[in-house]
């Protein structure tokens, strides 16, 4: 029991995680490339056209994964943040800050692809559709999180404050989504919904899933890259960073 705890702490220490993350990054890039290429191949080259929406529907293979990831990353971010707040792991706060920009990127991409989809479907770039509106609010939440963390100098306080914000955000997201949906149905029932294709063909589903997996692997790879930089920056006064950055041949001369 005690041993296990020590192991978790060891893993959670930046010193142990830094080289591990470095080894994992190429693997996640490879997976991202495989899934992404497979998904795009199915989505753009194999899948048949949609009778109702024409070829424009193929944006779904980008839009839906981006939306999923933007929401999923917020959840993961809040999970790390909560873990950091509860158990005082240094690593979790760093993970949360490393995830936020990628989540914001996906929220933006979801809005962008949504707008480019809306134009041919609804004849307008922007519709106050429940999904798009919630996605916009999610982007605001990400921006708030990043802005809060970047305006606090002490990284420990930044982590904790960000964690509280992320947790409050996670509690609020369902409420926001529900309220926006309610508001939407009262004001205008949009006839075409982005995901409600009459019959979601199996190939389409596969394409979407593979693209989403690709985006997921991409997020992990990018987040690991970012967290490594954050570790170096924050732990720059520790010995392990010095050892990590020591030029070859210098080790002998140091002592």
């Amino acid at each position: 029991m005690g041993n296990k705890l020590i192991n978790i702490y060891r893993f959670a220490s930046p010193q142990a995680f830094y080289p591990l993350a470095g080894k994992m990054i190429p693997w996640f890039w490879t997976l991202a490339a495989i899934f992404g290429i497979a998904g795009l191949y199915i989505g753009f080259l194999v899948a048949p056209t949609d009778a109702q929406q024409g070829e424009g529907y193929r944006i779904i293979f980008l839009h839906v994964p981006a939306s999923w990831l933007s929401m999923f990353i917020y959840l993961v971010m809040a999970f790390w943040a909560g873990l950091g707040l509860g158990f005082n792991f240094r690593l979790s706060g760093m993970m949360a800050s490393a995830l936020a920009p990628t989540g914001a990127l996906f929220a933006f991409l979801s809005l962008w692809t949504g707008a480019l989809w809306g134009k041919p479907m609804w004849g307008t770039w922007w519709v106050w559709d429940a999904r798009l509106t919630s996605e916009l609010i999610l982007l605001f939440l990400y921006v708030g999180f990043i802005a809060l963390q970047s305006s606090i100098d002490d990284p420990r306080r930044a982590d904790k404050a960000g964690a509280i914000l992320a947790l409050v955000g996670v509690v609020n997201i369902p409420i926001i989504y529900f309220s926006v949906k309610w508001w939407n149905t009262l004001h205008q029932g949009s006839s075409v919904s982005l995901t409600k294709s009459p019959s979601m063909a199996v190939t389409m589903l596969w394409g979407m899933l593979l693209c989403a997996l690709g985006c997921w692997m991409y997020s992990i790879a990018v987040a690991l890259m970012r967290v490594r930089s954050i570790m170096l920056e924050r732990e720059r006064h520790t010995d392990w960073v010095r050892a990590e950055l020591a030029e070859p041949g210098e080790h002998a001369g140091q002592e």
């Binding site: 194999v46 056209t49 424009g56 991409l109 480019l116 134009k119 041919p120 790879a221 890259m225 010095r242």
Partner: protein, 69 residues
């Protein structure tokens, strides 16, 4: 394979601008993010190395001057 020709593929049934606009922006941003990360990481490492070297040379000069004191 669903498409008959490359030009048909590019046209996307008259929705080419929207489809390729989505694909293009998404591809650019998703490539840009890691590139920027690698860039900033290089800068960070260079900065830290400079800092460590400066500290080391400070320490060395201290050692040299200390016997005179």
């Amino acid at each position: 394979m669903y498409w008959n020709s490359f030009s048909e593929f590019m046209a996307m049934g008259n929705h080419g601008v929207y489809v390729w606009g989505s694909v293009g922006v998404m591809a650019i941003l998703m490539l840009l993010e890691p590139v920027l990360l690698i860039q900033s990481r290089k800068n960070l490492i260079a900065r830290l190395k400079r800092q460590f070297r400066a500290e080391r040379s400070d320490a060395n000069t201290d050692r040299k001057t200390s016997p005179q004191r």
